[in-house]
Amino acid sequence: MINRIFAWLTDGAHWQGYDGIAARLIEHLGYSLIAVLVAALIAIPLGLYIGHTGHGRFLVVNLAGAARAIPSLGLLLLAVLWLGPRFNGDIAFLLPAGLVLVVLAIPPILSGAYAGVEGVDPDARDAAKGMGMGGSQVLRHVELPCALPLIMSGIRAGTMQVIATATIAAVVGLGGLGRFLIDGLAVRDTPQTASGAILVALLALSVDMVLAMVQALIVSRGLTGRYKRVKTFDPDAGVTPPAPALQHVA
């Protein structure tokens, strides 16, 4: 079995053409990145705003909880049935599918951004205000950089979910790596089905690795604890002066 999967994956013919692995990979990545980008553009400003002002906190809490219960396949079919007839051509499928992916990516990114700002040390925020930063300066210079680790984990969680869910977009006739799964199942071509699953998993892992590297680059070392080792020469190290027996009253 493993040999057959390996054979399927390494067959050069399967990689080429408009329905080959390479093209599907790019499609899959494309859908996912666009969906995450749109979700981030909505969720990050909203999360920062809610965290900064405290307005609408209930929205985040409820949304994040409710989102876990959304059945993605059901939502996808519902969106296609509802929106599909209103558009023509590819857009009739692309739009509903894209919408569902965006909807799924928003909650983790939103709660990451909100929790990140909410979690900023109140003393740091107080000091920033007290030194004469205006509201937007506090947000840009203190809250946003301090919230970055949680914003990035929100984006990574959202991206994983989108890459996984984009697979089922194939059910409604879209491209992407889901095609191999769905088509493979339809014709009982197990090597093709399994290869599709493996490719989705590999794609998700590689994208997460790239995002992890981006996170390491943009998050301050002061927050991650990965300090550059500074070598300093201390001539007094290890030498303690003898303590006088009498203590001087200051």
């Binding site: 740091a124 004469g132 950089p145 002061g222 300090y227 500074v230 009498l246």
Partner: protein, 372 residues
Amino acid sequence: MIRFDSVSKHYPDGTKAVDELTFEAPTGQITVLVGPSGCGKTTSLRMINRMIEPSGGRIWIDDQDTSTMDETELRRGIGYVIQHAGLFPHRTIVANIATVPRLLGWNRARAEARALELLERVGLPAGFARRYPAQLSGGEQQRVGVARALAADPPVMLMDEPFSAVDPVVREQLQDEFLRLQGDLGKTIVFVTHDIDEAIKLGDRVAVLRAGGHLAQLADPAYLLAHPVDDFVADFLGKDRGYRALSFQGSPAFSLTQEQTVPLGATPAQAAGAARDGWVLVVDASRRPLGWIESGRVKSPIKPEMLHRGGTVATVGGPLRNVLDAALSSPSRRGVMVDDEGAFVGTIRAHEVLAEIEERARPELEDQEARA
């Protein structure tokens, strides 16, 4: 000068945090607001830079009404130090210190040069510049907090319990260095603490507040200890008021008793020869006192670990409290006095210090009014 003119802070639920508070914090001095929790001291402080808006009255900085000034302008002109320092965890130490200069539009190079200068000023090594706050101890972070507040050289500083979150030894160091720094800089400082000992040590003037934001008494520390205005202030000042008040009285040129001393390594015979009433003082090569030793117990050349460690040392001309303490804490009953270089000059006994104290008048109301 900062002037409170019938300043109140009332909350919608009817709580009065501060009620009709009127006082002045003179230019170049440390005015300490002290009181139990809920006395409105922090609220009063935070109304100066309008982190809290007063609900009545006016606060003046020199001849400017703070309520007419732009909030951020006002704050950039006032140094602000808080309890846990509140450093920005994502910025290096040097970037933290340079915050206000950068807000004021200084270029990076100038702001950084200034930050490095201040790092040294607050007693931190230049090697800390590129570190992050999490790499520093609480006491070191608090020094950075002070440096950050000083960065744009504001004439006014607000300090909200800046030293209360560090351990007692570090707190004492920070207080001493703060006083030394203030001696150089002469800022107009309003300082909030709940610790009356800190208030008395640091304040040029101490304002004792009672619950509900009422000013119970405002005076210099020596006067406060001698003349608490009522039971509340007296209780708040606590015990040992007479003894603590001696901190503010310099000592005269006492005629000291000369002592024969011995160096480390002295033999039992030398110790016995120099001892008086069974005790002899051991000094180092520059005559700095090291400790007392009972000559009868010296069986071999004197080593440091044989010395008695209980006694304190007082400087000639220093506060009477230190002189009295040196006498009281000395195992030989003879208080060790040193000169400014720390070299031994002679000893004094408790009754001689007490005789001097009895001669003196306590600080009286007239003095206070003359000073105010």
